[in-house]
């Protein structure tokens, strides 16, 4: 049995090495490096593993022109079959982005699964999944840790919830937002780009669709970013404690008790 899977991918700010003042004097966020949303990359890996195992196809989809990372091309380098870019000039809110993606997914046609990452720190993609499923009329599941069974017409997932997890069976097509956390050498670790594909697909054209081409007149904006303020950071003064020194450890215990 083969499955057609669409993975929605994006580029995100890389906040991991964010140190010091996050905002410039103008109150605007200082430029940060960007990266392939790691949760989306995990989703892509899930899709590719299903394809490797069961056959079918993986189509990737993204909104907007690439900034630092061309996420769509990165997907092709890892073995995605097709990529489509939805172009827009605007900085869209999530609802408008979902509307574009829903139209593009309809254009792509028959599919079994739409996967994307649940981005926890900002919540944004967990929102996108819902908005997308709502518009497509698909079943949806978020906080999906793993797909435990996939059979024609049905998928069973393990979903992480407070105090444990639940196993949920959904009809296909379904939108799944994955929040995979990886242990060391986890078999779900995203694969690297493949050297040969990289050479071959460096300049492969990626079809682009504008909102107009997708038959959308433009979605009204429903949410606007009204301002950013820096939050006072708790200044942590770090004391080093020598792991090898009993005296240092004893002093630590005196300090903290």
């Amino acid at each position: 049995m083969s499955y057609h899977i669409i993975v929605v991918v994006r580029e995100v700010w890389d906040t991991r090495d964010l140190v010091g003042e996050p905002l410039g004097l103008d109150g605007v966020l200082k430029p940060l490096p960007r990266r392939f949303d790691p949760e989306d990359l995990n989703s892509l890996e899930q899709a590719l593993q299903i394809k490797d195992r069961e056959g079918g196809s993986v189509t990737v989809l993204s909104v907007g022109q690439p900034g630092e990372v061309d996420v769509l091309r990165e997907c092709l380098y890892r073995g995605a079959d097709e990529a489509f870019r939805v172009t827009t000039d605007e900085d869209l809110d999530t609802g408008a982005r979902a509307a574009l993606l829903a139209a593009a997914i309809r254009r792509i046609g028959a599919h079994d699964l739409v996967l994307l990452g649940v981005s926890v720190p900002e919540g944004e993609n967990s929102l996108l999944a819902g908005e997308l499923a709502g518009r497509l009329g698909h079943a949806q599941l978020t906080y999906v840790d793993s797909l435990t069974e996939l059979v024609p017409g049905q998928v069973t997932c393990r979903r992480e919830i407070e105090m444990g997890s639940e196993f949920v069976r959904l009809p296909l097509p379904a939108v799944l937002a994955l929040g995979v956390y990886l242990l060391k050498d986890d078999p779900r670790t995203p694969r690297a780009a493949k050297a040969m594909l990289k050479l071959k697909l460096k300049k492969a054209p990626i079809p682009e669709w504008s909102a107009a081409e997708l038959g959308l007149a433009g979605e009204p904006r429903r949410m606007r970013l009204a301002g950013l303020t820096a939050l006072p950071q708790r200044n942590v003064e770090t004391h080093d404690v020598d792991a090898g020194s009993e005296a240092a450890l004893a002093a630590l215990l005196r300090d903290i008790r």
Binding site: Q140, F167, P171, L225, V236
Partner: protein
């Protein structure tokens, strides 16, 4: 009068604490607060809602709604929103609320924002506050247009407040939209037996602990310090420790005086849960582990040798 609808989550322990916080926040915003309960056998939950500031409690009881699942519940919530026409709908920033609110917004093509830690009135509209970028920035969002605004709220948005009670209960005769929606096959959740939230000392263990046996070491350390064991999702998933001890985004948020992080890398999802710890001690073999950025004491070393030494020193 503006109407605020609060979706209440409830489980075998009753209405969740986050839901009661949402009710309290709704009350503070001024307006008519309606609570919505969806599920089965709702009587007890209705009483709790009425005792926490809901002017009215809407109930939708249906056998297929017994176990939460986004599809059917959202079809019901969408119908309620359409019928009651609230200006603001509050959910919880949980695996239910963050699942439900966006789907409902998608169905209604309404404005939605998840993970907010504050809602303020701004003229006729709202200012929605959210911490972003690894808790370094507070972003303010402004909904636009006319429809309802759906928001999920994080732990700590308001103090739970008991009120005099009284108010109407309005059972709604709605059933989930038909069609295949899926089903919850089983839940594996643990019963809550510890109260990490109030623990003064927590010894947290991550993937670096490496085994259940090593976790016993952390238990001994916690015991000596009169504290509790906490965990990351990685160590919960490895099966070394029960899920109720998971701290962070999908676990509990704690505020101990002392948090000792053993073999924990310091992923944001974990750090959000310990932000209010007074003193953090990090034990990690990787000198560049992010946990050290929030540690007051930094011990670079193998926890299997450091922890036993600490236990020994504690006598």
């Amino acid at each position: 009068m503006t109407r605020i609808l609060v979706f209440l989550e409830h489980d075998e322990n009753g209405v969740t604490d986050l839901s009661l916080q949402a009710l309290a926040l709704a009350g503070s915003l001024g307006g008519e607060v309606e609570a919505l309960l969806v599920g089965q056998s709702l009587a007890a939950a209705v009483e709790v809602a009425l005792a926490h500031g809901a002017a009215q409690v809407l109930t939708v009881e249906h056998a297929t709604l017994a176990n939460y699942l986004a599809g059917p519940v959202s079809s019901v919530v969408a119908a309620v929103v359409t019928e009651r026409d609230p200006v603001l709908v509050l959910f919880q920033a949980s695996t239910v609320g963050n699942d439900l609110a966006p789907l409902t917004a998608g169905r209604l093509e309404a404005a939605c924002l998840v993970d907010c830690d504050g809602v303020e009135r701004a003229g006729n509209s709202w200012r929605l506050l959210r911490t972003e970028f690894d808790a370094r920035v507070r972003a303010a969002y402004q909904p636009e247009g006319t429809g309802p605004v759906l928001v999920t709220l994080k732990d700590g948005v308001a103090e739970v407040r008991a009120t005099a009670g009284g108010g109407d209960v309005i059972p709604l005769d709605l059933s989930p939209a038909g069609g295949a929606t899926g089903e919850v096959l089983r839940r594996e959740v643990v019963k809550k037996t510890v109260n990490l939230k109030d623990a003064r000392v927590i010894v947290g263990g991550g993937a670096g602990v490496g085994s259940r046996e090593n976790f016993a070491l952390l238990e001994r350390l916690a015991e000596k310090l009169g504290g509790e064991i906490g965990a990351t999702r990685a160590s919960v998933d490895a099966g070394w420790v029960s899920a109720e001890r998971q701290i962070g985004q999908t676990g509990v948020t704690v505020k101990p005086d002392l948090y000792i992080a053993c073999g924990i890398s310091g992923a944001v999802q974990h750090l959000v849960g310990i932000r209010d710890a007074r003193t953090v001690v990090g034990i990690n073999s990787d000198p560049s582990a992010p946990i050290f950025r929030v540690s007051h004491y930094r011990i670079v070393g193998d926890l299997t040798s450091v922890v036993p030494k600490l236990i020994e020193l504690l006598g």
